[in-house]
Symmetry: C4
Subunit: 212 residues, 4 copies
Amino acid sequence: MTDITDKEAQHLHRLILFSDAVFAIAITLLAIEIHPPEHWSSVGDLLSQMRHKLMAYAVSFAVVGVNWIAHRRTFSRLRRADGVLDVLNLLMLGLLALLPLGTEMLWENGTASSVVVYVALVTAIGLAHALAWGYAAMFAGLSEPMPTGEKVYVLLRVALLPGLMCGLTFLSIITQTWWGWLGIAVVVAGLSMTNRLMARSGALPAVPAAED
Amino acid sequence: MTDITDKEAQHLHRLILFSDAVFAIAITLLAIEIHPPEHWSSVGDLLSQMRHKLMAYAVSFAVVGVNWIAHRRTFSRLRRADGVLDVLNLLMLGLLALLPLGTEMLWENGTASSVVVYVALVTAIGLAHALAWGYAAMFAGLSEPMPTGEKVYVLLRVALLPGLMCGLTFLSIITQTWWGWLGIAVVVAGLSMTNRLMARSGALPAVPAAED
Amino acid sequence: MTDITDKEAQHLHRLILFSDAVFAIAITLLAIEIHPPEHWSSVGDLLSQMRHKLMAYAVSFAVVGVNWIAHRRTFSRLRRADGVLDVLNLLMLGLLALLPLGTEMLWENGTASSVVVYVALVTAIGLAHALAWGYAAMFAGLSEPMPTGEKVYVLLRVALLPGLMCGLTFLSIITQTWWGWLGIAVVVAGLSMTNRLMARSGALPAVPAAED
Amino acid sequence: MTDITDKEAQHLHRLILFSDAVFAIAITLLAIEIHPPEHWSSVGDLLSQMRHKLMAYAVSFAVVGVNWIAHRRTFSRLRRADGVLDVLNLLMLGLLALLPLGTEMLWENGTASSVVVYVALVTAIGLAHALAWGYAAMFAGLSEPMPTGEKVYVLLRVALLPGLMCGLTFLSIITQTWWGWLGIAVVVAGLSMTNRLMARSGALPAVPAAED
């Protein structure tokens, strides 16, 4: 079962192509419900009227982008695919395809509740992605050989990062304090340090950044 | 004619890429007509107001997903393509591209008639897919060598599964009894057993699950 | 200049992928402006109310499908691409992307004028495609080696077929006579015979159907 | 670090596929908000009523097309990708995905202000693209070996061309004089001459047109 047949490699290839197409469509559709205001006098007035929509677009674009980068990273560590991975990946894409809807909700209803729903959706995408990675790497043996420590590290990073970054961003905007931005800095610095420590202790290859 | 030229392999490759793009767009467009309600007080209220739309979205996402997985399975058994397969595959994609419309109908008009139209559409997609597979495997010799038993098994699975699962799901929801869910369990268990019996009798390769 | 570098092959590959994505999006968007009627009593009533839209969808789906098949055929005969082919191919895709708009016009305004505009658009797509093929095969030497007769045959088929088929289809529907359908039969039979005659005379390879 | 692993080549491949899908969707969505007028008497009347929309569509289609061709050219000169390039490329795609919105604004509000906003958006896309290329070629060593002169030439061409062409086009239309068109001719001729001079002086390979 450890030898990879041509068919299994093709399966993984087609799964990646399909996911890329869904990512690309979801990211492009984010802007489709944004329309220019009917009346505007100057460029400043236009930007001021569209401020909320453009900010929601920028946040959602970043969310899909972060998830695409994470997907590229996890799937570049896989060597083959199976039917269960198909289903778990579809689950993640099904939640991702709801992001244009979540973005529209965000700019139409800027209350704390809508931010909660939005962050919950982003967190759910991260969890579905982690489920797919966890199944592939830990149960089905679909990944390339790597230490368990790295598998867990990838799992946590994929599962927690998008929701955490997204929540902290909104916290920073809403509370208008520096706590949220400090939190983001701590998370990024912590990830980078963990990465280096694992590389030094041999749990990660020496130059992982070159692959990522 | 049994030797595969480079061009024929390219033809199959491009047919698969095109189909994947259509699947990806259809699955992402399912959510595009869903908009948040104008007024909602709490997260519970929001989910309650959007219940029908989200359920219709989930069902349609599952339908496109099941069809994509089935398409991946049938086409991974093909070795080349021809012009007739192009047309039959387009017929299937043309019906699939109507699913966003069928989904919209389902949540706007939750009557038994709209469920009938929806299940008929899903059944038609399955039949068109079966027609494409049947032509490729049984008439045009486009598939890899395999016993006739397996060809028929793939045909029935592709043709009947999506419509059957979909019909039983709605039956379960509408009648609110356990008959529908029992039916789904029987179908899945039956398929799994048939798969094993065929593998034991030599009509299927010994470890088919690894390829699927 | 006749040796194909790796880069030139990659260029052609990326041009084909991009075109496939545009074809796939255009064909899926055809259905996006179709919405179910607000009130309908039975399945028969629903189909009767949506008759015009579904017919326009079917015709446009066939048009994009015929063009995709033609594009696959012409581009499978190319060995490399250049910047001018990029531009001519974009011109064709730019007209193709207007088909959803043309389809909407067709069902909203079923007059003879809208049919004329629609057929003109389909004809323009065919001409742009023929321009791209003619440039690639006859001026820039981007195609695989083939007799001039075959080059001209592909040119005419690509340029005239979509508009002709489309015009004859509408003629058949509008005049409600058998003249249009007879015309389609004559065109298809004529193409098939020309194909065989050219193969016999050596202007085409002996088994062209296997490649197409 | 100069040896390219299989993974790094795959990374670049997936980045290109994803970008192509976003380009294809953005270019096809340009037409989605164009609807036929409710009443029109003749083909001439139809075209006259839709004149502004079709012109804005043609300009935006050309802008996305020019950017796609530029993207193909810069990325064909890269040999691998890294995480920073992912982010810079996403930034460029995020601006590109706003073009359908910019196009809608252009035809709804034909004032000088909307032209300024549109040209600013096109310029920003060019700058983001130049940033991605500059990082990849000059800082991260992701490109194939080439003289610094060529790197700078590609940078300026990618950064300045789309905004310049777009601004001059609008200038020509608005002022209704020949100054704008003369400017475009000067830019194109200048680029072509620079290309030849660099090739003669050895800063560019002898037959660069064959690759482009």
